[in-house]
Symmetry: C2
Subunit: 341 residues, 2 copies
Amino acid sequence: MGTTEKQNEVYLEPEYAADLASIRKARKRIETFIDTTPVLKSSFIDELSGRKLFFKAENFQKGGAFKIRGACNAVFSLPDEVAKRGILTHSSGNHAAAVALAAKLRDIPAHIVIPKNAPQCKIDNVNQYGGRIVWADSSIESREAIAAKVQEETGAVMIHPFNDGNVISGQGTIALEFLEQVPELEAIVVPISGGGLISGIALGAKGIKPTIKIFGAEPYGASDAAQSKATNTIVRNVSPRTLADGLRAQLGDLTWPVIRDLVDDIIVVNDKDIVKGMKMLYESLKIVVEPSGAIGLAAVLSKQSASHPDVAECRSIGIVLSGGNVDLDPLWDYMNCACQT
Amino acid sequence: MGTTEKQNEVYLEPEYAADLASIRKARKRIETFIDTTPVLKSSFIDELSGRKLFFKAENFQKGGAFKIRGACNAVFSLPDEVAKRGILTHSSGNHAAAVALAAKLRDIPAHIVIPKNAPQCKIDNVNQYGGRIVWADSSIESREAIAAKVQEETGAVMIHPFNDGNVISGQGTIALEFLEQVPELEAIVVPISGGGLISGIALGAKGIKPTIKIFGAEPYGASDAAQSKATNTIVRNVSPRTLADGLRAQLGDLTWPVIRDLVDDIIVVNDKDIVKGMKMLYESLKIVVEPSGAIGLAAVLSKQSASHPDVAECRSIGIVLSGGNVDLDPLWDYMNCACQT
C-alpha cells in the first residue's frame, strides 16, 4: 500500500474487541499458515448484475473456509505453557475443523464437541486434521455442558467461534488482502451468523478505507442480526430455520457493537435465492461453495439490493465466498445411478 | 524458457497434422482470446496418491473447457474473405460452444448442428455466445447430413472438433503453458475421445521435453483408443456407453498417427471410478469438473496405474481437467427441497 493510503487510514478507538492494528498483527502471526485466496470474476454475472463483482474465494482456504484465519490467530496467540494444555471448542461447522487444523499446526491437542446432527463433511474434516471428537446432543445447552466438562478435565483453552477478539482479528485479515487485491472496492458483502467474520472485515476495511460500505447477508430464517440492527439491541435467534447451516448462530456481545456501528445494512434473503446463487457460482465460476458461502451473491442479486440506495450506487462490490464445505451426496447418488460401466 | 531447454527441443518431422512450431504459432494467434488457466494442487490427494499431482484447470477456461483453444486457432487462421461466410460444426458438446464463442470473437456467423439429446448446459452455452442452433437427430448420419445442407446453403467453413491440424495445434498450447508452470512434470494424463486434445499435448510436450510420458485416460464403455493401440489400427467406437458425454467420439485419421506413435499408454477406467474422481475434485479442490474432465484423476488413482511400471515410477504427474460443463440439476432439485424459507 502506498503512502497516501497510509495517510488516509483511520485508527479506530479501541472500543471494540479488535482494531486495524490487531488485524495487522494477526496477519503477520498467521501468514505462514494460511493461503492468500484468489479473487475471482465472471463476465456473465457482471452483465447480469450490471456492475463489477469480485469474489473472494475463501472456499479455497485451508480447511475449505475462512475459519482457519481466526482459529490460527487465537491458537498462536497463546503462551506456550497455556497452549500445551490443548484447545477446545464446540461447533457443528467449519470452526471445528479450523480449530483441529490450527492445533495440528501448533502440535497441541484439540478437543472438539460436535452435535450428533452435524453435516458429515464437516465431521470428516475434523477427523482429517486429527481433532478429538466429543459427541453432544444438538442443543446448545448439551454442547456447552459437555465442553465445560472437557475443559475441567483437560485444562484446555476454549476457542470461541466468533465472540473472541483474536478470532475477530484473524477473520479481519480478509479485508486487508481483499483491498490490496481490488483497491477500487466500494462495498463488501459478508455472510452474517455470529458476526465474527463481518466484524473483522468491517474493522479492517473501514480502518483502511473509511468510505467503504459493509453489508451483511443473512438468511430469512435466521435474521437475528437484521432484527437486532432494526431494534438496536441483540435479538435472540430462536429456532433458526435455514438451509445455510453455517449461519444459524446468534450475535455475541463482542461482535454486536461492531455490527451496530460499522455495518451499513443487512440484506435478508430466502433459502431459494441462496440456492440460485450457488447454482450461478457452480455454473459460471466452476467452483464449489456451501449455502452459507453463496448468500453474498444472492444478496447482491436480490430485489432488496436493487431498490437499496446504498447498494444500488456501488459499481464495484466485493463478495466474500466464506466456505465450500457442503455434502454433495445427492449428486453422487444420482451420478452413480447414471453410470453405464 | 532458458537456452538449455531450447537446445534440447526436438523439432519433430512434419509427418503429423501439427508440430511444435504450429503449436507455438497457435499460441501467439490465440493468446489474447483465451485464459492461461491455473495449475491447482491438493495436499490431501497428493498424500492419497503417494506423489505430486498437478491439475491444469481447463474447467476455468473461457466457455468452461479447453475447446476454445482449438476453435480460436482454426477460426483466426481463416482468411477474411473465407471467414466472413461463417463457420459451422456439428457437436453435442463443448466444441459447439467454443465454435460459437470463437465466431463471436471474430464477429462472423456460427451455425451449430446439435443433436436433440445434448446436455442442456451445453446448449445453453451455445445460446449464450449467440451461435445459431440447427437441430439434428442423435445419429452421426443425421448430424452430418444436416451439416452438409447448412454448408451448401451458407458456404460456411466446417470446423471439425478434433480431426483438424489447426484444432490440434490449438489444444497443444496447453502443453506449452503446463510445462512452463510445472517444468518438473514427468508425465501428463489426458482424457481421450476423438484425440485432438491428447494429440496436441503429446506433440507440444514431447517437442519441448522428449522424456515426458503422455498417458490417455479413456472410459471402459468407449475404449476404442485403447483397442486401437492394442491392435495397431483404428478400431471403430460402436455404441459408446459412458457417463462421460465428452468422450464418446472415435479417433480420426489425423489424430490416430499421433496417438499410435507418441502416446505411451492408455488407462481405461469405469464410470464409477470417474464419479469417485469427480467427488474428490469437488471436495478437496472445491471445483466443478464434468465427468470427462475428471477421468484423468480416476486413471491415476486406478489399480491399473498402481501396477503400471511407467505410471508408477512418475513422481510428478500433470492431469488435464478438460472441462466443467455439467448439468447439476439433481443437486439443485435436492437443495430446493431442503429449503426452509
